[in-house]
Structures are given as C-alpha cells and as structure tokens.
Symmetry: D4
Subunit: 160 residues, 8 copies
C-alpha cells in the first residue's frame, strides 16, 4: 500500500496496523515539508519475507530514509537497519503492558555498527521522525531547508 | 565453527564472541544430558546473511532446538524465531550499561505468533537453556528423561 | 475443571480465575494446532496442595507441556517447574500496580537448574505459549509440524 | 545444619549458601536479643522436598518465626509462607544482574492471603529481619522487650 | 477516630483519607480473625505531632501491632517504626504518577536497625497486613491460631 | 559536631557517617561562597530524638537552610521538612543495592504541603545543594550574589 | 501573559499550555501566602528565544524565584537554571508514555554547578513549589513567615 | 579545540571532558568513512554561551551533522537541536549513579518538533553516531556510500 505513485523519499513501515494513529502527526509534517512518503505494514517477526521485499524494492527505487514504527520487543527498526545502508529512524510505540519502555530499549540499545536513530515513544516520536527526515534532506535540498526555517518560526510562535 | 561433526541436536548462536562465558554452564549441562550441540557466533544486525545461512543449514540437517544468546537490543532470538519453526530459547546477556534489562525485554516481549522461550539473564539463564532443551527432548527420548531424573536428585542433594 | 475428557497434552494452570481472559488467544491457537488441553485454577500460594495434586495426576496421565499463568509475585510457573520434569511455559500477567513487571521478573529470573520458558506479559504471551507448545510437539509430530507451516503462511499474509 | 541443639525460635533458610554473608548482622542481632536460631540452606526450586521437610519438622518442634533469604526470582519466602502459618520474613538478595530488584518484587508482591514480611535488600534487610523477630517476640517476652529498649538506646547513641 | 471503644490490638494509620479503600479487605480479615482494630488518619509530614500523640497513646494503652498505609514518598511506616518497639507493617499505596513503586521503595528499603514489615502495593498488601497480624498474634493466642487454620482451608477451596 | 563556633547559616545533616564523602564538594562550595555551615550525623530512624534536638536548636539559633543527605528509604529530608519551616534541600545517596533510585524517590516524591528541594544523586547533588543555598541567600545578600556571578564565570571557563 | 501587572516575585514557566492543570494548587498556595506571581508558556526546545527574553526581562525586573514545569525530556528547569542565578524550582509532569519518570530524571539529575530544586511529579509537586517559594521568601519576610506558621496549623488539622 | 583545520562536516560536542573515552570508536569510524570532524567540550548548563558560540560558528561555516554526547540530565543534544536545523545525534553516557538511564530518557524523550536522533548508551552509541552520520552523508556522497558497502562487508566477516 504505497501512498504516492512514484517512489517516495521516505518509507514508513509499521510493525502492526494498530500503530497507525502514532504516525498521524508524522504524515502531516512530511506533507508540510513537501516530502513524498509511503506507508507499509510489515511485522519483522510475522512477515520477515515481506519486509525484505519492501526494503529491496524501496532501496532499488531510491527511497532515502526509512521510518520504522513498532512496539513491545520492537525489532523492526534494527532489522531494517541491518538490511539497508539508508538512515533508519525508529519510533517506539507504547503497546502492551510496559508503556513502551520495552520498545524504547529494543530500538535504542543497538550494538555498534548498525545504527537506528531513535526518537520518543509514541506520537511525539512520530512527529520528530518527520522533522528529522526533513533535517537530513535539507542538507542537500534548499526547499526543505527553507521549510524548516518556516517551521522554526511556526514553533517559536507557539505552534506544535 | 560447529563443535560436533554430525548435525547437533542443539545449535547455540551467540550475538557476539564476548558472550561465550555465559554459556559455559550451558555446554556442561548439555554434555551431562548427552545432547549434541554446536556453537556459532552470528550477530543478527551485523551478520544477517550469515545468520540466515546457519539457520537454513541447521534446519535442513535436523537441528531441533536453538539457543540464542544476546545482549543490549537483543534481536537475535526473535529474528531466529521468525525464520524457523523449531523452539528457540533466548538467553539475555548483561552487556552494556543496563545490566541486561534491555536484553530481557527485547527477548521476552515478543508479539503474538512468534515465541521465544526466555530464560534468566546471564549464566543462570545459560544453564536453564540446557535444562529446558533436555526437558523438551525428554518428551520422546527415554535416555534424556532418565538423565533429568538423575539431575533432579543431584539438585536435591545441593548440586548446582 | 479439565476441558477435554482424555488426558490433555497441554495443561494450562492459572494462578487466579481473573487471569482467564489472558488465555483466550492461547486456547484458540491450541485448537488451531489440534493440541488437546485442559484448564485448571490453582494458586501456588493459596492452594499449594491442590497444585501438587494437579501436577501429580497430569504427570502420571501423560501431560507433556504445562502453561502457567500468574501475576504479581508470580511463583506458579517456578513452583511447577520444581515439581515436574516436563517443559513449563510461564505467562506473566499484568495484575496489580506494577503492570506485570513484577510477574515478568518473578518468572524469568529463575536460578540455574529449574527452567521456566518465559513469554511476553499478557495475551501476546498467552498466544506464544500455544505456539511454543506446538513447536515443541512438532519435533515428533508431523501433523503439528504441518500446522505450523500453515500458520506461518497465515502470519505472512497479515494474520495475527 | 541446625545451629542450636534445641529447637530454635527462629529458623533462617537460605536459598543458596552464597547468601550466607547477607545474614552476618542478622545472626549477631539475634544473639544480642537472646533469640535462639538455626540456619538451613534449601532452594525452593532445586530442593522443594528438603524445604518441606525442614518446615514440617520446625513447625512441629515449635519454631515460631522464619527468615527466608533469596535472590533472583526469590520464591523461597512465598513458598514457605504458603506452607506454614508462622510469620515469614523475606530478605531479598542482590544476586545476578538486576541488583535485587527482581528478588524484592518476587518477595513483596505476594497476592492477598499469604503474607511475607519483606525487609530491605541485602544485609540491611538481614539485620532488620532479626529486629523484626525481636519485636514480634517482645509482645509476650519481657526479656526481649527490655533488650529492644537497650537496643534503641544503643542506636540513639549512634550504634548501627 | 478510634473504631473500637477499648484499646484495639491493631492500630491502622493512614497517611491520607484517600487511602481508605486500600484497607477494606484488611478490616474484613481482621474481623474474621477476631482481632480488634482502630483506624486513624495522620500524615507523617503534615501532621507529625498528631502522629506522635497517636503512637504514644496507643503504645501506653497496649496496642500490639501497627499497620501503616501510605503512598508516594511513604515515610509513615518508617517514622512509626522509629518511635515504637512494636511490629510495624507497611502497606504501599499506588498514589500519584509512579504506581506505588516510590511507596514500595520508601517503605521496604529501611536501613538496618528499624524494621518495617513490608507487604504488597495496594489492597493485596492491605489484606496481607491483616493476615500477618494474625500470624503474629497466633504465636500466643490459640483462638487466632485456629482461625488461621480455618482460613487456610478457606483459601484451599478457592477463597480469596 | 558543629564545625563553626557561631550558629551556621546552613546545617548539613547526614543520615550516616558513611555519607560524608558525598558532601566534600558541597563543603568546598559553601566555603567559596562564604557561607557558614555545620555538619551533624543523625539518622531519622535510629536517632529521631537527636534529630529533633538538632532542628530545635538550629531553628532557634537562626540556621536558615538545611541540607539533608541520606540513602535507601531516605526519610531524613522529609522528616526535617515536616519539623521546620526553613528550606530543606535533599541529597539522595547511592547506598545499598539500588544505586540511589530508592533514595531519589523517597526524597522527591513528597506529598503536597511539605516540600523538599531535591537535587541529584551523590556528589553532583551535594555540590548543587551548596549552589542552591547560595542562590537562596543571594536574594538578600549582595556578597553572595557577587560570588555567584564569579562562580558563573568560573564555570563558563570550564571550571567544575 | 504575565498575570500581575507589577513584576511578580515568582514567575511560573510552563513547557506547554497542557501543563496548566498541574499548577492549579500552586497558584492557590502562592495567593494564600501573598506572593505575587506570573505565568508564561515557553518551550525550552520550540521557543528558546522566547524563554531567553522572559528570563532576561524577569531577572532585570526583580523576579526572585522561578518555577519551571515540564514533561518528557524536561529540559526547561535546567535550561532556566543555566541562564539565571535565582533559585529555580522544577516540577516534573507526567506527560507521554512514561508517567513522568523521564521528566523527574531530566530535572533532578543536573550536573554539579547548576542546581534545580526538584519537587514531586504532578500537582503535589506544583503545590510544593509554592510552599518552597514561601519558605525561601520567609527567610527575609516576616509576613510570609507568619503565613507559613498558619499553614502549618492548617495542615496539622488535616488540611491539604 | 577543532581537530581539522577546515570546517569539519561533523562536530562532536561533549558535555564534559570525562566523556572523551565514549567517542574513541566514533572518531575511528568517522576517519574510516573519510568524514572530517571536530571535537569540542561545552556543557549545556555550565557553558551555555560557549555552546551558542560553537553552534553559530559551525552552522555558518557549513557543519552538517552534530554529535552531542552527555550524561545524567543530558540536555546537551536537545538544547543543540533547539538552536540548529541540522541533524543532531545524541549519545547518552553512563555517568553518575543511574547507569545512563537518566541520560537515555533525557535525550530520547524530546517533545514533538525538535528531534534528536538517539543512539545507545556509551561507546556502542558513539560508534553508531559515526555510522549514522555516514548513512546521512551517503545520500549525496558516492564515496561514503561505497565506504558503507565496504563497512557492511567488514561487519559480515565478523568485524566490529
């Protein structure tokens, strides 16, 4: 279920369709910054082959940043980071009994060599995954650089 | 680095060679129970292809139980459980700053559908991975069943 | 209250009847895999004699795997593992104030010699107790081995 | 290994002989208060039958208070409290990776009906198990009541 | 607000009137065991003088066991234990943001010399404070000893 | 053991003489700011009467700020705050098994009405107790205000 | 949005307008003590320039104490303490998934040199920020000193 | 103390010179990838003006990625992310009593709008900060893209 027809610059992969509310703000911000994105649901554990297919296809087609969203023993971001050389941003989800502590540690505590750029648990993290993508793209994209300057002004005025 | 020439019944996979001390007791107990085993080092994140190769080969050759040993964001047991239908026992290691809490949660909090049989952090868990393997094999192996009876007597006398 | 008339292969023991919702998915999956099971309620602390009777009877009658479900200072799985040589799977329940962290540690941190195969807190863990049972039985049961292959396909298509 | 020839008023049971240093201060204080005690090592998991024997014998012979000392998934105090109607004091030990948090929760979070009087992790808890025993006995023992008054003065002067 | 006209054997002190629901089961069990009790509300921090008055009066009048119930930085049980030589049982309450972890640690981690008999967080702990009182009294009270035997049978039949 | 002959502006109270290393930096900074101080050791639990005497005497003699240093179930700062209307600064100490988490929660989680100004665990907290005292005094003391300006410059140059 | 026309003695700064309920009790108590205050919303991260402006203006106009209220990675109190020499009181808020533990640690664990006076998570902390302010002012303000004496009486009678 | 004469692509900022060992592997990897870098020490709390100067100068001179390394209440990465639009990678350090949990939460739990790309606590995180930088630069730098392919092969062979 790829949202934009052309290859999106950002591919958001969710470990479960129940994680969709976590990325509402993420999608809005990517649209604000003019960054194309797609959304896929693929569990690292239940659907490892599907996950490999998505990554292979996206990598070949030019996707540049991955946002991986998962709860509990959240292996999705780390598994993705082990299969691609693109930046992977991990968003922990507060699923199950432990309020996302399990997901935060499963995503942040990656061993040396295979980084995941971890952001906050839940929708704050979802938003920041979008802004971090924009900061990465802005290094070589003047339009997004300008959009970040506007966004900074928006925040300074009390926007969220 | 497979220890026994023939296909071992148990394959122990370590995320890092630094985890080797954790399985000293595990290996002794497997030998006590007469269970053949091999030991491989394969990081789920740094060596995903090697891990797939090991699992494919072992599954084909008849390995019956996997013991996966890993620290920090310990994805190794979960990734293995997503690739095989054999029982996977996960041993969390107290590596890094968080004393193994990160590994325990990364191993135990698996989502529904893909189980990892989690045991205690460190060498106690290593030993119990061996005993749990023996309990599984004893369901259809009288020799191991008898060895467990002996082991129970040994423990009752204060053995460890 | 044994569900199936003949001795079930799996006996599920709950520390409290309030834990029943946790095993809904567990029971469905055992049925999917064609594994007979029974359900008993026996608190390790309030009903130690009843627990011993259940274990003695089940062990004699040929029960092969135990699933022990408990919250708070969840001693049930460990006590059962100290009394039988069959594999014991422990499911922590999020009862009381601490969201199941107490139960997870009380179940997973068993000392060397007496293993409990710990799964995730709550209903995810309940499901995985069933799948882990199936993986154990599949080692010597072609029907269940085939059912696991089907189940893997079901998960791959997005099933949960 | 019962220390005093006659039945001691307090029986200290350790889950492992490695827990012995934790009760050094406990023993000194029991001696200060003139309370007879014995020391046994019996793992709740590895030696359940031995534990039952000890409890049966002590209960019959008139032991009045139990002090149970254990680490990790510390079931010993709770199992003892499920088998006797005497007060059981639980001392968590900082064994393994988790610094005693696992033992504290495994001892303190007992379900309703079967109490364990939990004290602090480690040797502070060991000392307080002795003082708590003295406070219990002092309810019907003027000598110990007087010893507690002396002990309070000792503490007030900076004693530890 | 002392409930029973004569000096009660047990005095329950709450840090806040909002803790009253936590002791519902505690009061029922004390009544079951035929143990007289009173209930007072006195914050260790906001009402230190009132707390001293209650303790002085109760100690003089023959109260034998104190049950102290408090949340957050729960100093009440420890402060009481520093002012009396009677056994003090501490019940942590899940008040505020931290679900009672703060109260559990503030009550259980007492330094050597001044014990608090800590029980579980919330109403399970409240019940166990009553049963622990009964176990203490039963050492020199045949009626309560018999009531505990009855209670054990009640639990064995599935009672809670 | 009061250090300065005249009544000091700051009284440091330690729960145990083993906490003395924690206040080395605290004392140096108080001297840098020209703030007189005394040091007393008084356990809230073992020496409640001594603690009351110190507070009464200091309050009467004009001590203006208290620094209370304690580990484990660290009630000292809260008890002091319940007995005086002066600002009380609490320094948690990493004593015992839990690395100071117990002390931090026991000090910070005070109920409404009786504040403790909590600072970091250990010697960083000790230093900040001194600086916080200086900030309080500087509100009506030009010399200390100037010393804080100098200190800020010192920090800006990399001083610690 | 400064509440009182003249420069307030206390300036309350919130990291987010959603934190307003946390300071209801804080404002009531400041009014009880006759302490003027203002309220501003300024995120340390989204509005760093606004925060600098507020601090510069307040410092120049004679604000004496700051109360900083923030959740999650709560940098607001620490950032304020790095920019002013006045006492800064930090109130952690239970926002997001972690119930305020993140905010508590982000506020309390300040490195040596730059203190934040941390109080409890949530509205209890909000109240205590007000009382702590009063205790600071009372050192040189007889009216507030008297108000604190009255407040102590109010608490002693069961007020909250 | 800027290492490379020309403006480096990556600027590493440490909260304290004691954090230097944490970035040993980070520096080696940046050199492996041919990425120029500088190292500065600037505490967010003790040296806020210095930190602003560094950021202003680096931003003007073309630094593209910041790596911020800090312990305890680790505000450094968040403060930097609030002052620049470049990607900021945060490395938590295990300083003080809490083994880096405080730093991890202070860095990862940023509110929406101002992202920090958090990596693991300690030297594993330091290494991953370097690899994440390389992944970001590789989006528009073929040389670094090739170096990552080589690095992946190195890891696959067991390199660390």
């Amino acid at each position: 279920m790829v949202k934009s027809a052309k290859t999106p610059r950002v591919m958001i992969v969710l470990g479960s369709s129940s994680d969709l509310p976590v990325i509402e703000g993420c999608k809005s911000l990517l649209e604000r910054f003019g960054i194309s994105y797609g959304v896929e649901v693929a569990s690292a554990h239940r659907q490892p082959a599907k996950l490999h297919r998505i990554l292979n296809k996206c990598d070949k087609n030019g996707t540049q940043v991955y946002i991986a969203v998962a709860g509990m023993a959240a292996h999705l971001p780390g598994v993705m980071a082990s299969l691609t050389d693109k930046p992977v941003i991990g968003v922990p989800v507060a699923a199950g009994a432990l309020a996302g502590v399990d997901a935060l540690l499963s995503i942040a505590q990656m061993p040396g060599g295979v980084p995941v750029a971890t952001v906050a648990i839940g929708s704050s993290g979802g938003k920041n995954a979008a802004v971090l993508s924009a900061r990465i793209f802005a290094l070589s994209d003047k339009k997004i650089e300008a959009a970040l300057v506007e966004y900074r002004k928006y925040l300074a005025k009390g926007g969220k």
